[in-house]
């Protein structure tokens, strides 16, 4: 059975078109987002690990090493098994700092662009053979299927034309679906969809091949067992023990695949993976790989049983040919195409990103006038094209010379050289960049000499060593692994221990380390706000890109563009570095941010960033156990206690940054904690800014009743510093300030003083009334006598005037006595129901008796049913005082109206005049005793004070409206008194 190229080509094109369609659907959002967040899709996307090697090479490996082939799967499954130790920490770093590749990770950790460059170059060297292997696998599959039966005994020849077409198709796919800028989820949905589909297809076809092998070739599991018992040499070969070194190094090789191979790393960490998708993957990936590996042995034995002339690598193809099933052969061809295309696309994309970030951008950056996004896109596309072209050329060079196993092994060993660096990133903060570079240089040199050179050249300096190392390929691979990795690790260790580590590296190491004991320091930025950041960044990115990046960071952090808090600026700077790292690689991003947004140099002692430590503790809360969890609970308890204190508390750093602002402080100042925590104390709104800043700067431990004007009200605040702020504990950071609102106390005190003053006036008045009353009575009697004793008109006139003046004195004295009774002795007569209208009538009647006063009209509009709880005599006095005041202020001929209505449980009484009104400045003072605006001799200034005192006693209220709203002039006095339950008195 053989195929024509013209038959295979349409099938291949149809499959790739389907892949394009799925990717397009993913990109367009036709597939719901939740599908991409599902752990199953994540597991399937990791199926990219199973490249063409897992279809062909693995059968050859099983033939050669027996059960040894399982290490290919067990390695990766094992890595996921230990996900909490290895993968989740790396995922945390990659997600937090937007790192997409091993080169990014090592550059970030070791703060060394050289590390990134070396890793990228090595990766390129190691991966090009692997890419060439994918092309070769596809090309040889086509060659096997298209050759005639006459050629069946001949070695398999490649099919270059098909290989070229395959490369072209992949190039188009990678450019269309992988080079675009990723969305907010940090994921190329189209790519993920295509890879997940490809993995599903691969699994289904492999299981179908296994079933065909068992049932088609042997006739069932029983027959397979029978065949095996008849061929004990196959079982013997299966269980032939590999050399210890070889098996261990092979397991290590595959164990590190997830960490080191760019395509697996890319799908595992860079395409929107989250801890919640990775956790189920720790067993999900195992299930996938188990199912994928299950058919390998039946396929191998089927190939042997059918006596296929093809090498064992091509037994999956031989199955279809042997069973004379074109469908099966076509499916095998498609699965090879699928596996090879998936791996090639992702490897190419990952390599292109790495080359861009570590081989292009560190050495050349576009001018700021260029649109940086477009520029990056085109450079990435160019790199993708170059890499695929390189893979094709290498395939042409290597074709026919190397087997798939050899190529695959070489690639794996090359990437293994990054393992020491990755492990040190997580577990060894002491490691430094010199050690890393020295170790990698040693390991890579060995790998190139012993592993890579023999691939491309027949002359190998180490060829003899390789021969000496062992006979089987696995043995040689194992020996190269041990040699290169061992040397790498030893050099890394020794050089790191012998050379110093920079501060920058140390802080990056602390960020990456799992046992992070880092106490982050608080720095202040030289820039003040987001606008200034945009201006600075425009130097490197151009104004449009700088604007876009800063706005994006602000949106992600949910910060206002006007936020000027140092904490907000620090967070914005960190986010910008992370986002730029995703765009241009960590080294370039770090360089740009350090250069354009530097921290203010100098400053005082290193201060800890409490806000950051707290945020981190909040994030890790659920993973704290034992003592750490207890301490965290204690921390929460103390924090809550401080938060709930009924007294205002704010903690300030040594540099004046607000670190804590409790609930009482929020109530006291009206400033939400979100606006103030992280900002400088001097940037608080007035008047708190001056109050707190001055107290913070002053050496005084207490500030009593500082008077401030807040929101139009006078307030009194007392401030205290806690003991540690006073230098008792020199290790303490900053100050803790306690703020008490003394306003109520102050007002009470003032009221008390006022009452005291009133009381003394009352006592004085009573005394004066008593003392003056007697002589005045005497004078009046004498004047009266004088009137009777003389007929002299002048004397009579004088006597009358004396009498008049004594009556005036008596009135004044009577007012004083009344005031003294109201203000001091408070005749505690029980209030009784009083009809307001009648009372007002009486008061009006009494006032009209005074013929000397201004001619005004009184109108009583009180509702007849308004009855209040009061004392008749004193309510009448209230009316007389208010009405006579109103009359004195009114022009002749005007009207004074008294009205009373019921409002709920209170009566609302109004006395309205049409007079000159009371100026606003006097309105608060008119109730003070002896305050009057009348001419001297006309008023005592006690009338309204008396009214106020009486109403206060009855739990009533008084309010002045001047000018009257609807008139625009005059005064209206409002009184509220409790209503009586009795009506119609």
């Amino acid at each position: 059975m053989s195929f024509e190229l013209i038959e295979l080509l349409p099938a291949g094109i149809a499959y790739l078109a389907l892949l394009f369609g799925i990717a397009h659907a993913g990109d367009r959002g036709w597939i719901p987002e939740r599908v991409f967040r599902h752990p199953l899709v994540y597991v399937l996307s990791l199926g990219v690990f199973a490249s063409a090697y897992s279809v062909f090479g693995i059968v050859g490996l099983a033939h050669e090493t027996g059960y040894g082939y399982l290490s290919f799967y067990a390695g990766v499954a094992g890595t996921f098994l230990f996900a909490p130790l290895l993968l989740l920490p790396i995922l945390r770093i990659c997600r937090n700092f937007q790192l997409d590749s091993v080169a990014d990770l090592l550059t970030f950790r070791f703060r060394s662009q050289a590390a990134g460059t070396v890793v990228s170059l090595t990766m390129l060297l190691a991966m090009l053979p692997l890419l060439a292997m994918q092309v070769q696998a596809v090309s040889e599959t086509v060659a096997v299927l298209t050759r005639s039966s006459a050629e069946s005994g001949q070695p398999v020849r490649s099919h270059h034309l098909f290989a070229a077409l395959f490369c072209l198709a992949l190039l188009v796919f990678a450019i269309l679906f992988g080079s675009k800028r990723r969305g907010t989820e940090r994921r190329h949905n189209g790519l993920v969809a295509a890879i997940a589909f490809e993995a599903t297809f691969k699994l289904i076809v492999m299981l179908a091949l296994g079933a065909a092998a068992v049932y088609g070739v042997f006739g069932g599991f029983g027959a397979l067992e029978e065949w095996l018992s008849n061929h004990p040499e196959q079982l013997e070969r299966l269980r032939a023990p590999m050399s210890e070194d070889a098996s261990r190094s092979q397991l290590l090789l595959f164990f590190s695949t997830v960490l080191c191979m760019p395509h697996v790393f890319h799908m595992a960490f860079a395409e929107g993976a989250t801890p919640s998708t990775m956790r189920p993957a720790s067993w999900g990936v195992s299930i996938y790989l188990l199912l994928l590996s299950l058919p390998i042995l039946p396929i191998l034995w089927a190939g042997i049983a059918t006596g296929s002339a093809l090498p064992p690598e091509y037994f999956p193809l031989a199955l279809g040919i042997g069973l004379d099933s074109p469908a099966l052969a076509l499916l095998t061809y498609l699965v090879a195409l699928s596996a090879a295309s998936g791996a090639t696309i992702v490897v190419t994309l990952a390599l292109a990103s790495m080359c861009l970030n570590h081989l292009v951008l560190p050495f050349y950056q576009p001018r700021s006038s260029t649109n940086i996004y477009r520029w990056l896109l085109w450079i990435r596309r160019l790199l993708i094209a170059t890499i695929i072209l390189g893979a094709y050329l290498l395939y042409r060079v290597l074709a026919q010379r190397q087997s798939a196993i050899g190529l695959g092994m070489t690639a794996y060993i090359g990437t293994l050289q990054f393992v020491p660096g990755i492990l040190a990133t997580l577990y060894w903060p002491r490691a430094n960049r010199i050690g890393l570079l020295a170790g990698m240089a040693a390991g890579i040199a060995v790998w190139i000499a012993v592993g890579l050179l023999p691939l491309v050249s027949d002359v190998s300096a180490m060829g003899m060593v390789a021969e000496w190392l062992g006979n089987s390929r696995a043995d040689i691979g194992g020996a190269i692994t041990v040699m290169s990795l061992g040397l790498n690790a030893v050099v890394f260790l020794v050089v790191s221990l012998l050379t110093p580590i920079s501060d920058e590296e140390r802080s990056a190491a602390e960020v990456c380390s799992l046992d992070d004991l880092n106490r982050p320091a608080r720095h202040t930025l030289a820039v003040r706000d987001a606008t200034e950041m945009k201006e600075r960044l425009a130097e490197a990115l151009g104004p449009a890109s700088a604007e876009r990046e800063v706005n994006r960071a602000l949106a992600e952090l949910k910060l206002s563009p006007n936020d000027r808090r140092p904490l907000a600026m620090r967070r914005l700077r960190n986010r910008l570095e992370v986002n730029l790292s995703g765009l241009m690689g960590p080294a370039v991003a770090h360089d740009i941010v350090n250069r354009l947004l530097p921290y203010r140099s100098g400053g005082t002692k290193r201060t800890e960033d409490i806000a950051l430590i707290e945020a981190r503790l909040e994030r890790y809360q659920s993973s704290l156990t034992g003592l750490a969890a207890d301490l965290d609970s204690l921390r929460r308890y103390h924090r809550q206690t401080l938060q709930d204190l009924p007294i205002g508390l704010c903690a300030l750093g040594r540099d004046g940054e607000v670190l804590m602002w409790n609930q009482a402080m929020v109530t006291l100042t009206g400033i939400p904690w979100q606006d103030v925590v992280g900002s400088d104390v001097s940037s608080l709104p007035e008047p708190w800014n001056k109050l707190l800043h001055d107290f913070f700067e002053s050496p005084e431990p207490h500030l009593h009743k500082a008077r401030i004007e807040a929101e139009g009200h006078r307030r009194w605040i007392s401030l205290h510093k806690t003991l540690n702020s006073l230098g008792a504990d020199s290790a303490s950071d900053g100050q803790v300030i306690v703020a008490e609102d003394m306003t109520e106390t102050q007002l009470l005190e003032e009221e008390l003083i006022h009452s005291e003053r009133l009381a003394s006036i009352g006592r004085l008045a009573a005394g004066v009334a008593h003392e003056i009353g007697n002589p005045v009575t005497g004078i009046a009697c004498l004047a009266q006598n004088l009137k009777y004793d003389t007929d002299n008109p002048e004397s009579l006139q004088t006597a009358s005037e004396i009498l008049e003046q004594t009556q005036r004195i008596t009135r004044i004295v009577q007012s004083l006595v009344n005031f003294a009774h109201a203000g001091v002795e408070r005749q505690r007569s029980e209030p009784e129901p009083v009809a307001v209208a009648a009372c007002a009538d009486e008061a009006i009647h009494l006032l009209t008796l005074n013929r000397d006063a201004t001619e005004v009209t009184f109108r009583n509009e009180c509702a007849a049913d308004v009855v209040v709880m009061a004392d008749h005599q004193r309510l009448q006095q209230v009316f007389i005082n208010l009405l006579s005041n109103a009359r004195d202020a009114s022009p002749a001929g005007s009207t004074i109206t008294v009205s009373a209505t019921i409002e709920g449980e209170r009566a609302h009484l109004c006395v309205t005049d049409q007079g000159s009104g009371i100026p606003e400045t006097y309105q608060e003072q008119v109730f003070e005793p002896f305050f009057t605006t009348k001419d001297p001799g006309k008023g005592t200034g006690l009338g309204l004070a008396l009214v106020y005192g009486i109403l206060d006693e009855w739990k009533g209220e008084i309010f002045i409206e001047s000018p009257v709203r609807e008139q625009g002039f005059g005064t209206r006095i409002h009184l509220w008194l409790p209503c009586s339950s009795v009506t119609g008195v």
Partner: protein, 58 residues
Amino acid sequence: MYINPTLLLLLALMFVFAPTIQEWVLSGGTAWYRPYLIWVLMICFIYWSQRGRSDNEF
């Protein structure tokens, strides 16, 4: 750093029983699938150790 105790248990079990498991696998006769049985057991074990863990644990 938080290490899942069940993982440590698994490692300890693998270490202790490695020779026994190896012997069992190699003495399987025509039961070539014995390594897969061990693999299935491990998957069950990991699944069991993972259930009920919250998502934000690193």
